[in-house]
């Protein structure tokens, strides 16, 4: 993979401010006040602060940061589960913020899917129906839903569990269902919000391997959120590091490990060095 791929998702100067007085807060943050100052003056919380980045087609792009750094907020901008307070988001060159409800729905059905930290599976549907959900929602035929769902269930290694319900599965199996659901929708982009964070270390490593294995043939654009540098280095083509809603550094795993941009990134890297 080249280091400068064609950009699939482009984020330009995005701000996200939570609270009643977002306009005022935006003004303050543009005047380079700190997150704490904005909070004390307007009661608004800054989620994402003047963030720009571009994600290439077919790469695994990892967004990393501690909890509260705005990474989960940011990833929800890509399918507009959250709308930015200001800024632009382009997917395939189209400004998705201009989409109306119908266009947005169509976009979510065909172009982008998501895997969630606590799985977000439908508890009243079995594995097969859960995996087929994205297809069913966009109105594919029953037969196609079934065929594709079965195929992906087999790919993620859950053959034989089609008729089980989510509560009958272990955490790792549930996330395989979540992954299969996203893959079955066959979208160009897959967002993974701390998808493996709730799993124990062994299962986690297994899932990481599986994801890398799948990516070899699929070449999806995957945006992967994590708070774990090991995971980021292991699966990421490029890594972006976030702190307080700001982008601190973007680069390949090597760049991050060998030339950390500042003390914050360095601390991540040091911790890892100690652990190794």
């Amino acid at each position: 993979m080249s280091t400068q791929p064609i950009s699939k998702i482009e984020v330009k100067n995005v701000f996200k401010i939570f609270g009643e007085r977002a306009g005022e807060a935006l003004q303050l943050i543009r005047e380079a006040r700190s997150k704490e100052q904005v909070l004390s003056q307007t009661g608004c919380v800054v989620g994402v602060n003047d963030l720009s980045l571009s994600i290439g087609s077919g790469e695994i792009f990892v967004i990393m940061g501690l909890s509260g750094s705005g990474k989960s907020t940011l990833v929800r901008h890509f399918n507009r589960l959250i709308d930015p307070t200001s800024g632009q988001i382009l997917v395939d060159g189209e400004d998705i913020l201009q989409y109306d409800m119908d266009a947005l729905r169509e976009f979510r059905r065909r172009k982008i899917s998501m895997v969630f930290q606590s799985f977000g599976l439908l508890p009243h549907r079995n594995v097969l129906d859960n995996v087929a959900y994205g297809l069913k929602v966009r109105g594919e035929s029953k037969q196609l839903c079934q065929e594709r769902a079965l195929q992906w269930i087999e790919t993620v290694g859950l053959k034989g569990y089609e008729k089980k319900y989510p509560h009958q599965l272990s955490g790792g199996m549930r996330q395989r269902v979540g992954l299969a659901r996203a893959l079955a929708a066959d979208t160009d982009i897959i967002l993974m919000d701390e998808a493996f964070s709730a799993l124990d270390p062994l299962i986690r490593a297994e899932m990481q391997d599986q994801l890398l294995e799948l990516q070899k043939t699929l070449h999806k654009t995957i945006v992967f959120i994590t708070h774990d540098l090991d995971e980021a280095v292991r699966i990421g083509n490029r890594i972006a590091i976030l702190k307080d809603g700001r982008l601190i550094q973007v680069g390949t795993p090597q760049e991050i490990l060998h030339s950390p941009a500042d003390e914050y990134v360095d601390r991540f890297v040091q911790r890892r060095a100690v652990a190794v």
Binding site: L81, E106, R108, R109, M114, G120, H124
Partner: protein, 283 residues
């Protein structure tokens, strides 16, 4: 003493308003009343024309379908047989018809209102105090205007019952939908589900235990209104309780009272069994 110059009364104003309503829209209310009456009379006729053994059979099948256990099915059917055995079968059917219609109207009004209230915090803020009023206002207060508009008999009884019995269903529908896991909603949103798919595919099925608890409460409260309903001319088990009071016939009152309790138990067990989720959500 409260000073006279600070007192005021809304009684005249309300009276004038109700009078105007009766004179101007009497026909409309009459029409509604006739339609409703037609429905109740037909349902009642059907229930009473059904042979008792067939009726018991139908109840047994429903009870089996709901509970999937033999003992509760037998107890439920046996209790109803007992009501027939003390000679109250006909009145039981009359009460059942009244209650079914009242519950049906409560469901038709209550579930949509509950869904809307789960969607909008503003509507909820308006609706909740209104429901409090509906539940706490003594029913005789709104029975007066209802009687003026619809006349004596079954129809005002149904209205009074619906006003009293619908609130828990609205509340529990609202609650059930609001309690659907946020991440599940986020997930189906992320896959592009439209409002219809969200509501019927996910929100209502997941809120079902709560909604069934609401229907259960509604039927229970509807039953607690049957005596009051009989005071304004609705026939049924309440009538016997009323006669029991008026003639100091404790035994007759108790028989009818127990029959109401049995009907309540039967309906309660069946609706509760349907409310139990078939697939437990474990965290």
């Amino acid at each position: 003493m409260f000073p006279d110059n600070l007192t005021f009364s809304i009684a005249d104003w309300v009276n004038g308003w109700v009078d105007a309503l009766v004179t101007n829209y009497g026909d409309v209310f009459r029409h509604i009343s006739d339609t409703l009456l037609w429905a109740i009379v037909n349902l009642e006729g059907l229930l009473r024309a059904t042979p008792w053994w067939l009726m018991l059979g139908v109840v047994a099948v429903i009870a089996w379908h709901a509970t999937r256990r033999i003992l509760p099915t037998l107890v439920i059917t046996g209790l109803l047989f007992l009501v027939g055995a003390v000679g109250l079968w006909d009145k039981l059917m009359q009460t059942l018809a009244l209650m079914l219609v009242a519950t049906l109207i409560s469901v038709l009004v209550g579930i949509p209102l509950g869904i809307l209230s789960a969607r909008s915090n503003r509507l909820r803020a308006v609706l909740m105090p209104l429901l409090d009023i509906m539940q706490t206002m003594p029913s005789f207060v709104y029975l007066i205007p209802v009687l003026m508009l619809f006349g004596l008999g079954k129809v005002p009884a149904i209205f009074a019952t619906v006003i009293y019995a619908a609130p828990p269903l609205i509340r529990l529908t609202d609650l059930g939908i609001r309690q659907v896991d946020g991440e599940v909603m986020e997930a189906i949103n992320a896959f592009g589900a439209n409002r219809w798919q969200q509501l019927f595919g996910v929100q209502l099925p997941l809120a079902l235990p709560s909604i069934m608890a609401g229907i259960n409460q509604t039927t229970m409260m509807a039953l607690s209104m049957v005596v009051i309903a009989s005071m304004i001319g609705a026939r049924g088990l309440g009538e016997d309780v009323l006669v029991g009071i008026q003639t100091l016939n404790v035994g007759r009152g108790l028989e009818a009272g127990l029959a109401i309790v049995i009907l309540a138990v039967v309906i309660d067990r069946i609706t509760q069994a349907y409310g139990r989720p078939r697939h437990e959500v474990s965290k």
